[in-house]
Amino acid sequence: MRRYLQEFLKGIIRENPTFVLALGLCPTLAVSVSVINGIGMGLAATFVLLGSNIIISLIKNVIPDRIRIPCFIVVIATFVTINELVMKAYSPVLDRALGIYVPLIVVNCIVLGRAEAYAQKNSVLNSLFDGLGMGVGFTLALILISAIREFLGAGTILGHTLIKGFEPVFVLGMPSGALLLIGLLLGFFNVLKNRRA
C-alpha cells in the first residue's frame, strides 16, 4: 500500500508535471485565466490520464513496439472524446470556456509522456496511481497559477471581487503574463528544492 501511496504522491511534488517536468505548458498558458477554467482543465486531464494509463498498462504486452505511439494516441483520443462529450452535455459553459483545449488533451505531453515513460513498463495498479498523482499534481499547479492570474489579472477569485478599487494587472490575463508567472514560480520552487537539498 505504501508503494502505491508513493506513486501517487510523487506526481504532486517531487515530479510535478508543470513545475518539475515542465510538461503540458501549452494548455497551462492558455486556460489558466480563471480558477474555474483551471479546475475544469485539471479534472479533464486527470480523467484522461487515469483512463489511458490503465488501458495502456493492460495492453502493453500486445502492442507492437514500433507502432506504440499511434496505439497510445488511439487510446488517449478515445478518453478525450468521452470527456469532451460528457463535458458538452453536462457543463456547456465550461466547455465553451476551454474551447479547443479540451480536444487538444490528445496531444498533451503529460498524457503521452506518462504512457510512454511509465504505463507501458509498469503494472496496472502502479499506473493507476501514477496517472492519478500526475493528474492531481497538474490540477493543483493549474489552480495555483490560475488563482494568481485571476486575482492579479482580473481582481477576482472564482468570480468574486476581493478588494475594491484594485487595478488589475492586464498583462497577467494574457498568455505572455502567464509565461512570466510560470517562470517565476518555477524559479521559486527550484530555490525551495535547492535549499532543502
Binding site: 487595478e167 494587472v169 492586464f170 498583462v171 497577467l172 505572455s176 503574463g177 512570466l180 524559479g187
Partner: protein, 309 residues
Amino acid sequence: MIVSTSPHLHKKESVSQIMWLVVVSLIPTGIAGVFIFGLSALWVILLGIISALITEGVLGLFTKRKVTLLDGSAFLTGLLLAYNLPPKVPFWLPIIGSFFAIAIGKQVFGGLGQNIFNPALVGRVFLMASWPKYMTIFSKPLNYDAITSATPLALLKEGRVLENISYLDLFLGKRGGCIGEVCILALLLGALFLLYKGYISWHIPITYIVTTGVLTYIFGQKGLFSGDWLFHILSGGLILGAFFMATDYVTSPLTRKGQIIFGIGCGLLTAIIRLWGGYPEGVSYAILIMNGATPVIDRFTKNRIYGTK
C-alpha cells in the same frame, strides 16, 4: 565572451563614475520635464528612483550578493523609467515599474552586467502592457499654451491634422508626452556632454535616428518621398531612446560595426511600428528587440584577431 583583442587600455573611470555622470547628463531633461509638466512630474521621478534603490538594496541583501546600491546603476534605471512615464500617473505606477525593472529586468539575470534587456525599458513595457489606460493619458503642458493633451504621434496615428505644432514647439517640448522625452533641447545638451566625454559613441544614436528619419521620409503619408522626417525625429521618445537607452553598455553590441547594425535595426523597427504598427510609438519595443539580438550581432562582428582567419 571576449570580443576585442589585447592590448586593452586601462581607463581610470569606474562603472559607477560613468553611471553617475550619465545621471548628471540627464538632469537638464528632468528640470525641463518638471518645468513643462509641473510638480507632479517631480514626484513621479522621485518615486521611481526611491523604489529602484529600495528594490536593489533589498534584493542585494536577500541574494547575499555584493550590494550594488550606490554604483548609480539602480538610480539611473529608476530615473530613466520615470522619464518614460506620463507626468500624471497614479503614485503606485512608478513604484511598481521600478520594482519590476530592477527585480525582473536586472536582478533575475544576475545583476549589473548580466541582464539581456534594458531594465528601464522592461519596466516601461510591463507597465504599458499591464495598465495601458494610465500609460496613455498625457496631461497638457503646464507652463505653455498647449494645444493638445495626446502625443503628436498618437494624433498622427488617428489621422488628424497636425498643423498646430511647429518644429520649434517640438524642439522645446511644447507637447504632450512622457516626462523625459518632450524637451529635445535638454536631451541634446546631455547627449553632447556624454559624447564629448566619450562615454557614448555616435554610432548607435546617429545610425538609429538617421534610419528612422530616412524611412519615415520615404514612406510618407502622401506617397513616396514625401514624409515629414523632421517631425518623426523630434516627436516621441526617439532622441531619449537613441542617446540614453540604446547606448546602454550592457545591452548593446561592443564593436563599432555591431553598434551600427544595432542602430540601423532599432531605426528600422521604430519606423515600421510607427508607420504600420498598432502603437503610435515604437522606440521602447525596437530597442528591446534589438537588445535580444545583441549577442548574435556581437558574435558576427567580432574583431579579427591578428594571425587568425
